[in-house]
């Protein structure tokens, strides 16, 4: 039995905003299944009472002084975008006009 189905991969692709093709879905489902299969032993490790580590080096409450710093020039930042107008990034419509 497979760990992950083609339908699940399609759902993940929607969550991750990837417009995958049917061929990709077929390929990815098989490949991800094989990778997850090879990781099965991880689930059998006894981690009862073990705290998770989200980071390599434990650092807490890293503060810096709250002083204004010069930021990048607006033009320099906008130059990297695919579409800009009036000093802003221009985006496709966000709201569905039919609603």
């Amino acid at each position: 039995m497979s760990t992950i189905s083609r339908e699940e991969v399609a759902h993940l692709a929607r969550l991750a905003r990837l417009e995958v093709t049917d061929e990709e879905l077929d390929a990815f489902a098989g490949q991800l299944d094989a990778v997850l299969e090879s990781m099965k032993a991880l689930g059998e490790v006894d981690t009862e009472g073990v705290q998770p580590s989200s980071h390599a080096v434990p650092l807490v409450n890293v503060f810096r002084e709250d002083r204004p710093q010069p930021s990048l020039p607006r033009e320099a930042v906008l130059d990297g975008g695919p579409d800009t107008a009036e000093g802003r990034f221009r985006v496709p419509r966000i709201l569905d006009e039919e609603v």
């Binding site: 990837l18 417009e19 990781m39 490790v45 073990v50 390599a56 080096v57």
Partner: protein, 500 residues
């Protein structure tokens, strides 16, 4: 000794420049000419900046001539992995999604390289967003291993390693999330170091897996890497995960190691990274064991230590890294940088975003985003991501317990020498196994270096030394000691790639 500039190590070139025997312009020109001659065959560079490099070289020469106090690497040119942002120079992360993007700022480590008056030769190829072990996942073509152009140069930093191995650069910057500096160094016969996590700023290093990403040096030998390590390391207030502690004295440690005396040093052989490891090729095991014998001759004590969690480190890594990547790569939305696809005036934002990501990302990046999304999704997060994070704690505990008994841990760097193009493309897990020995240090956060330890069937083998957190110096010392027992691979039996 050869008189060719490109045959010299970085420390030697720096001394020649400081003492007036060579100029930075001469040195930089020699490497740029070498790139022109051989990079058509190797394909290490995505972008070469002849003009910018020569301008920086002229400034370095002027500083030396003016008697300014200059850094130990002033005037020595360097290549930078294309996942590190460089102001005014294209930075793609080897992805179509960033094609044409020109960063408006420099990474902190690039600022430091420039402040040290090191000319930047160009940007090197990698697996897209540093995800891979062969550089075959670059969106901009393959990089060949200078030792055999039918083989991979390792990954993800195959371009940086190949550039140093083919003598197109005396030094390079890489990034190591699960082995992306060390494994390419191992398979190209170069020296590579993953410093302690947080000791090198990630500001301006395009994020793959933020709790693991660590920039570091690639070089021809331990001392050169250590000198570059000291140039780029140190606290950075712009990276909240940067460790505010003194940089370990790695150059001093490399010089000490080169004297070949390891008396009083205890090294741990990790049972789980060697015994019964059918993943490792016989030639790799043989070269590694010969390395151990050399270290014993230099006075090191060897002790076997057990780190049971290391067996599960690879699986934990391949859940944690994709999980963080799926979050980090959400920023490529077709709005703020690079590519936008399918914006026909009719489609809405989400559709354009999905089409942009579909066109912009390559297959391995998509797989990892999907895997990471899976590991983080409702119903699976505890079973996968949570469990992986707990195993990460066990890995850290095993390292900490080991370092109560020994000064450093040793292992092969990677289970196999450079494989042929396409050999593992169909079997992803086999490809992921390339990181088997390198991921534990990333999960733990401590330093790991890879030093050449001879050849197996004509291909370089790497020997890994891992130290405790902020104990980079002991890793350099041991690696430099081993290096002192080896024939320099790139000096005498260097691969002679010649231009077409």
């Amino acid at each position: 000794m050869s008189d060719r500039i490109i045959d010299k190590a970085a420390a030697e070139l720096a001394a020649d420049i400081r003492e007036g025997r060579l100029t930075s312009v001469e040195v930089t020109t020699a490497f740029l000419d070498r790139i022109d001659a051989v990079d058509g065959t190797v394909g290490a560079f995505l972008h070469v900046d002849r003009e910018g490099a020569l301008a920086a070289a002229r400034e370095a020469d002027a500083a030396v001539a003016a008697g300014e106090s200059v850094s130990p690497l002033a005037g020595v040119p360097i290549a930078v992995k294309d996942v590190v942002v460089t102001k005014g120079l294209p930075t793609t992360a080897a992805s179509k999604i960033l094609e044409g993007w020109i960063p408006p700022y420099d990474a902190t480590i690039v600022e430091r390289v420039k402040a040290a008056r090191m000319p930047i030769l160009g940007k090197t190829n990698l697996d897209e967003f540093a995800m891979g072990s062969s550089t075959e996942f670059s969106a901009y073509g393959r990089t060949a291993n200078p030792w055999d152009t039918g083989r991979i140069p390792g990954g993800s930093g195959g371009g940086s390693a190949a550039a140093v191995a083919a003598k197109m650069a005396p030094l390079a910057i890489g990034t190591d999330t699960g082995g992306s500096i060390r494994q390419p160094s191992a398979v190209t016969g170069t020296f590579g170091a993953k410093p302690t996590y947080g000791s090198n700023s990630r500001y301006g290093v395009i994020a793959f897996s933020s709790s693991l990403d660590t920039p570091g040096p690639v070089s021809r030998n331990a001392l050169d890497a250590a000198l570059l390590h000291e140039v780029i390391s140190g606290h950075d207030p712009r990276d909240s995960t940067a460790v505010d502690a003194p940089v370990p004295p790695v150059a001093e440690a490399a010089r000490l190691g080169a004297t070949g005396d390891l008396s009083g040093v205890t090294l741990g052989v990790v049972t789980e990274l060697t015994a019964g490891s059918d993943a490792a090729e016989p030639g790799v095991v043989e070269a590694y064991r010969a390395g151990i014998d050399q270290l014993v001759k230099l006075g090191a004590q060897i002790r076997e230590v057990s780190c049971p969690s290391f067996v599960h480190a690879l699986a934990a890594y391949y859940l944690i890294a994709p999980a963080e990547a799926s979050s980090n790569l959400a920023r490529y939305d077709g709005v703020r940088y690079g590519l936008r696809a399918g914006d026909d005036g009719e489609r809405g934002l989400e559709e354009v975003m999905s089409l942009t990501r579909e066109v912009g990302f390559g297959p391995e990046v998509k797989r990892r985003i999907l895997l990471g999304t899976y590991a983080l999704s409702a119903g699976y997060i505890d079973r996968f991501y949570g469990q992986a994070q707990k195993v990460r704690t066990l890995v850290k505990r095993d390292f900490e317990a080991a370092f109560e008994q020994v000064d450093a841990l040793v292992s092969p760097t990677t289970p196999f020498t450079a494989f042929k193009f396409g050999e593992h493309s169909e079997d992803l897990y086999r490809m992921y196994l390339a990181d088997l020995y390198t991921v534990p240090a990333n999960l733990y956060g401590g330093p790991g270096v890879s030093v050449p330890v001879g050849l197996a069937e004509g291909l370089p083998v790497g020997f890994q030394v891992m130290g405790p957190v902020m104990g980079d110096d002991i890793a350099y010392r041991v690696a430099a000691a081993l290096e002192s027992t080896q024939e320099p691979l790139l000096a005498d039996t260097a691969p002679e790639i010649e231009g077409k």
